[in-house]
Subunit: 419 residues, 2 copies
């Protein structure tokens, strides 16, 4: 009965078994082989095969354990296994339109060092952007006191869908000049580690599940809403990437009545804010501001619409500035329709607003909840990400960790002998 299907099942089982042993050791302190057998239900030969493999790769250490002595005789020695979080390291990178952030973490995912570099202007050239990314990576490794050879896996988040090849940004508009460049080569230069190029929103929802506000939840959508609007889908207990890695793209939603375009919240706020300042009134269907305070947002930027930023609009709205409030109303009406559609189609328990814009706080969140509640019955919970502008890079760390573990298990074999 050793047909192909059974062999596939068997390989999967062995990986699951190896993963179970590693998870048990990573989550807790040292454990004996017998304890690992009890927790995993695996046979002694299987546990020993898995542990030998993990030891050979340095992920676990074998230590001698002497239990508390009973009576006067010497205690019986037992071998224990212990997870070694510093057997290797991973690198997470968030390469955005405005800045790059890199984090070096150990095998538990705890950060050793991190750096952020803000690009000067949004239209920085591709070469300058990549050079700066490399410098940021090197500075982070130096801070952590690590050589490149210590890094087991690298995950690079990019703002936009990734090509079928899995290593270039699919569309020019997201990172000007970078589309069709093999980012694995540039970022992985000097490393002996795989580079995974991934969509930022897909990583954000991983982070939310790992260390954010969606822990333990099986149906979550993250709206990453800065310059662009992207969504990361975690449905039925696992990340959804689509057949070609492009799940979660929202471009076509511009066809939904009242959405208009799928700019991110930050870009939308800046654009609408600049329009409002330039014309002195907000565009319909935004209510006209009360005349006596109409100029306040404009005053803040000396009447220069170019100086409007999303932060400025949200700050002014928090102060009650009617022009800014009108802009936020329009932004929430548009994003609310996007959430309503995602909710109808995917029925998540939670929608997380992620990225820098989440810092707008309740000034955005409360109207957004109202807008969605008016559009659909039983609306999902809507929360701001607690991970702030670290959500994407945290997801990149998690992705790199998962990949390192996968590589580790690639050549693991279960015992075939007597159990």
């Amino acid at each position: 009965m050793n047909n192909r299907e059974s062999t596939a099942t068997s390989t999967l089982l062995r990986r699951l078994n190896a993963g179970a042993v590693l998870d048990a050791l990573r989550a807790t302190g040292p454990a004996t082989g017998t304890e690992l057998m009890a927790v995993t239900g695996l046979s002694r030969p299987t546990v020993h095969t898995v542990c030998d493999h993990l030891i050979s790769r340095g992920w676990i250490d074998e230590i001698e354990h002497r239990p508390p002595e009973r009576g006067s005789g010497p205690g019986r020695r037992a071998r224990q296994y212990e997870f070694n979080a510093r057997a290797g390291f991973v690198l997470g990178i968030d390469l955005g339109q405005n800045k790059v952030t890199t984090v070096v973490a150990d095998l538990r995912g705890d950060s050793l060092a991190e750096h952020t570099h803000s690009f000067r202007g949004r239209n920085i050239g591709a070469r300058a952007r990549l050079n700066q990314t490399q410098r940021t990576i090197e500075a982070t490794l130096e801070d952590a006191g690590l050589e490149k050879s210590a890094v087991l896996a690298i995950a690079l988040a990019v703002p936009g869908p990734v090509d079928d090849s899995g290593h270039v940004v699919a569309e020019e508009k997201y990172l000007p000049g970078l589309a069709k460049i093999d980012l694995r080569e540039v970022v992985g230069d000097g490393f002996d580690a795989p580079v995974l190029v991934e969509n930022d929103a897909n990583l954000a929802v991983l982070a939310e599940r790992w260390r954010g506000c969606a822990q333990g939840m099986d149906n979550v959508v993250e709206l990453l809403a800065g310059e662009r609007l992207g969504s990361g889908l975690f449905l039925g207990g696992r990340p959804i990437q689509g057949g070609h890695g492009a799940a979660g793209e929202l471009g076509f939603l511009s066809m939904v009545d009242g959405v208009g375009n799928t700019d991110g919240i930050a870009l939308l706020a800046r654009t609408l804010g600049a329009e409002a300042v330039a014309t002195g009134v907000a565009k319909p269907p935004v209510k006209a501001p009360a005349p006596d305070r109409a100029a306040s947002l404009a005053d803040a930027v000396d009447g220069d619409p170019e100086q409007i930023s999303a932060e400025l609009v949200f700050a002014a709205a928090r102060r009650g500035d009617p022009l800014a409030v009108a802009v936020v109303d329009e932004v929430t009406a548009r994003i609310g329709r996007v959430i309503a559609l995602l909710h109808t189609l995917l029925n998540p328990d939670l929608v997380v607003i992620g990225g820098a814009v989440a810092q707008a706080g309740d000034v955005l969140l409360e109207p957004l909840r109202r807008a969605v509640g008016e559009l659909v019955p039983n609306p999902p919970e809507i929360k701001n990400s607690a991970l702030g502008d670290h959500v994407v890079v945290t997801g990149a760390v998690r992705r790199a960790l998962d990949h390192a573990a996968l590589e580790l298990f690639q050549d693991v074999h279960g015992a075939r002998g007597e159990g």
Copy 2:
């Protein structure tokens, strides 16, 4: 290290282990315990515990096996285990707007008997619909020569989202008079088996993966497009039901420019066809038909728009009737936009058009592929379901089988002793 997380992992592993043993036996012929150990990587005590449990529930039989004799001495006897497909049976029911279909299947999913009853008129009362469903169930069991007690699980497909409670149709419009009725009670009357009430499109995509045109595919969307339009999502290798079982609903897509409403293809074709016949011309943006053949679809129904059916429209379009072709153009334009949106958001490898309307064949499929190709880059493959109007009931059988296996494993325990 016996914390809660490890215990959960352990329970999951035991179910996986039990499932692996059962899958191996279901897929192939009899096997010895040693063979099962080799295939699953499980210890002898675990294999024996699982097998004893499966024997006690009748799902596998223990048989004596005498290998071919070598030399003159008696062959060594070895015990073998064999899957018993007739240890129990499941019932799949597709309760639609126009008809009810029931299938009784064995534990491999092979049909023993099936019945279909067409309702007289779409506005049949709730009581008559349920009485007929019960009679159809009884006729099917009688044909199969089975008592109700032999049925281990029942899955009932309904056209529309299922309530949070998991046993009533959530909205009145789908099955008039049936919303808020506990369908488990009515359908399960006299059975000692659980009744699962499920959305029809969710079951359709399960069927497509099991025995249809999506076998082995991890990212599939099924558009169930008869009277209503629903979608079943299978993404990242598993069915997506949403936090409250309502994933795949498309009502909100009526807000997409050019979709207009989310009637199913059949209803849309009938409505637009009747309009075209009544007015003698198709509505914009449909092209005006050539004058000399304008009346041909109308002729077919003696000018009575009430007699227009989807089948009639598709048949006339196949003949080249310009009025019918114009109607099909408009139908495909609208459905094409729905598919384009699903593709943008979910990036499936395959979109299957399921339900009775799939029988329209290429007259619908070719224009649909063109329409989607004009809207999005890298469009998904689009196919008609090969399961025809059996797709939903086939999914119901699969769902019932899965549930029966889950119940089976609920009290299974792995060996905790020495491996």
